[in-house]
């Protein structure tokens, strides 16, 4: 049987830690070979929930990788049956995982010393943490604008603050700017800065706002979500229409990261 040296990995990763961050957000640390292969921030993994009733895998952005300890971290919100069951998984369990999948955030064009803006909301934040780490390692000065519903939903605050400026907006005003993230960008001085790159991930409203606001920007990127079946680019489940073209992009394979103006959000 020829198996083995293929570029996509399918691996039973070991759960080494499951940590609850907020009422419904969990951080899951997995260990395995997948943490040692080169991945770009914005790429994702597709996890088989250990329940035979649930046939489809669940995609999650990679939050952090440490090739040394072979650890890969995901942060996810419990929204339905799959994530609810995932949150019950205990250390030692093996989780069948494929990845790293898709195309992440382009950062190669950036020079050390340049500035980048990261805009995130809710569970769009996990892959942005990987991105911010990557940018800081490249010598980029990163500003973060992060939106949540309310203060108690915020997670990874210390982690982001350790990497650069962080501006919070909450819908109910319980922390930081009062209002959604689009309004924060309108109101805040920092958003007038000329960023060499802009990156966003979060709910659809946020992505639409960023897609419009930074349409002309040469290096503005948004990361999308879409319901998937294969997760690898072969079933056409996850498509998104190309902006102004009779054409479909696959979120799992052409994305999940797209340039602003590239797709119909």
């Amino acid at each position: 049987m020829k198996r083995g040296d293929f570029s996509m990995l399918q691996e039973k990763m070991v759960v080494v830690q499951q940590r609850q961050l907020t009422a419904d957000v969990f951080e899951l640390t997995l260990q395995g070979k997948m943490a040692t292969v080169k991945a770009t921030a914005g790429q994702f993994v597709d996890v088989k929930i250990p329940d035979p009733n649930l046939l489809l895998r669940r995609p999650f952005g990679i939050t952090q990788v440490d090739p040394q300890t072979k650890q890969l971290r995901l942060v996810y919100r419990v929204v339905g049956q799959g994530t609810a069951e995932l949150s019950q998984v205990t250390p030692g369990t093996h989780l069948d995982t494929i990845g790293p999948l898709g195309h992440g955030f382009p950062t190669d064009f950036l020079q050390a010393g340049q500035r980048a803006l990261i805009i995130g909301g809710g569970t769009g934040i996990p892959p942005l943490y990987a991105l911010s780490q990557q940018l800081v390692a490249q010598g980029i000065e990163v500003t973060h604008a992060i939106g949540f519903g309310k203060q108690e939903q915020i997670f990874y605050e210390q982690e982001f603050r350790a990497l650069g400026d962080v501006h919070y907006a909450t819908d109910d005003g319980s922390y930081g700017f009062h209002g959604h993230i689009g309004l924060l960008l309108d109101a805040a001085d920092f958003a007038k800065t000329d960023f060499a790159a802009v990156y966003a991930c979060g709910p659809r409203g946020l992505l639409m706002a960023v897609n419009n606001r930074y349409r002309g920007h040469p290096h503005a990127y948004i990361s999308l979500e879409s319901r998937m079946a294969c997760g690898v680019g072969e079933c056409y489940a996850c498509v998104v229409p190309a902006q102004g073209q009779q054409k479909m992009y696959k979120v799992c394979d052409d994305g999940p990261v797209f340039a602003t103006g590239e797709v119909e959000v």
Binding site: L54, L55, A229, C230, V232, C235, Y236, C238
Partner: protein, 308 residues
């Protein structure tokens, strides 16, 4: 001797396992998981005359032990398939038999695609998709009306350079009349089952979750329906059947063969486990030992004499 080898019209298979149409694209990404030469064959994604962008999203939903899809036959069109997709497979896997799935809105489209696609050197058979539940025109219409099925099969058979397998729909009152019509029109074999029409409602919006409202149900949830329909067709026709519907493991594959299938396509399982096909192929010999099956041809012969 290879216990797993199976011979079908146009198809000399070293094993009976092949990915089902639409669940494996043209294999390019799955080739990054494993060597596709392990497969018995590959049934590629539906080809239509013109490129298609498919249905609105969401296109998939999960159900208990199954899934709904309403892809809507998105594909790059016959031209790109002939110049890019099939050559890619031909170049890397020249020995891998390809079964081309053909779809359309009208008879003329089907005929045009059949005429061309059989000329690709690696296309060893055509699977005529008269059972796609997810498009407004064509598809299911041809698969639910015996006369329409007869006419379309006959027209396509006349222009196809390779054996023609017709893919039957489970969404019918009596599959036997469709099977008989298709056989009378000169088909070389059947493939079944395609998906059953289902719907999921999003309780939050109180509207259908899929962009297309309905979608096709596949996966283990439908296996017993596949077994029944394969067996019914097997009773009324001697033509070979490529069986599919909910196959997740080697035992499922053997069950469909005992119902009357001579080879097995694996669809939804690829999404749970991208290596589902090679895993099933690896597991077949032990499963055959467990049930005292010497080799697959003898199992197929036995079932032909005394259909389950």
């Amino acid at each position: 001797m290879n216990r797993l080898a199976v011979d079908l019209p146009g198809l000399k298979l070293k094993n009976p396992i092949m990915p089902a149409s639409g669940c494996f694209g043209f294999g390019q990404r799955y080739a990054e998981f494993y060597d596709l030469d392990q497969l018995g064959a590959i049934i590629v994604k539906a080809a239509t005359l013109e490129p298609r962008t498919g249905n609105p999203t969401p296109r998939v939903a999960e159900t208990t032990s199954g899934m709904l899809n309403a892809i809507g036959l998105q594909n790059p069109g016959i031209e790109a398939i002939m110049t890019e997709k099939l050559p890619w497979l031909q170049q890397r896997y020249p020995a891998l038999p390809v079964i081309a799935n053909v779809a359309g809105s009208a008879e003329a489209d089907y005929v045009a695609v059949c005429r061309q696609i059989g000329t690709a050197p690696n296309v060893k058979a055509i699977e005529l998709n008269i059972s796609c539940p997810n498009v407004a025109h064509g598809g299911l219409e041809f698969g639910t009306e015996p006369e329409a099925a007869y006419n379309l099969t006959k027209a396509c058979k006349a222009v196809s350079q390779v054996p023609l397998y017709v893919k039957l729909s489970p969404n019918v009152t009596d599959i036997k009349v469709i099977a008989r019509a298709v056989e009378a029109a000169g088909a070389d074999g059947f493939t079944l089952i395609n998906t059953l029409v289902g719907m999921q409602i999003d309780l939050k919006t109180r509207k259908p979750l899929l962009g297309n409202r309905t979608g096709g149900l596949s996966g283990p949830a439908i296996k017993s329906i596949a077994v029944r329909l394969i067996n019914q067709v097997h009773h009324v026709s001697k033509l070979p059947i490529i069986g599919m519907g909910g196959v997740m493991n080697a035992a499922d594959a053997l069950e469909l063969m005992m119902a009357g299938a001579s080879a097995i396509a694996v669809g939804t399982a690829n999404f749970s486990n991208p290596q589902a096909c090679p895993d099933i192929i690896d597991a077949l010999p032990a499963a055959m030992d467990q049930y005292q099956i010497k080799d697959l041809p003898s199992l197929i012969d036995e079932m032909a004499v005394d259909p389950a």
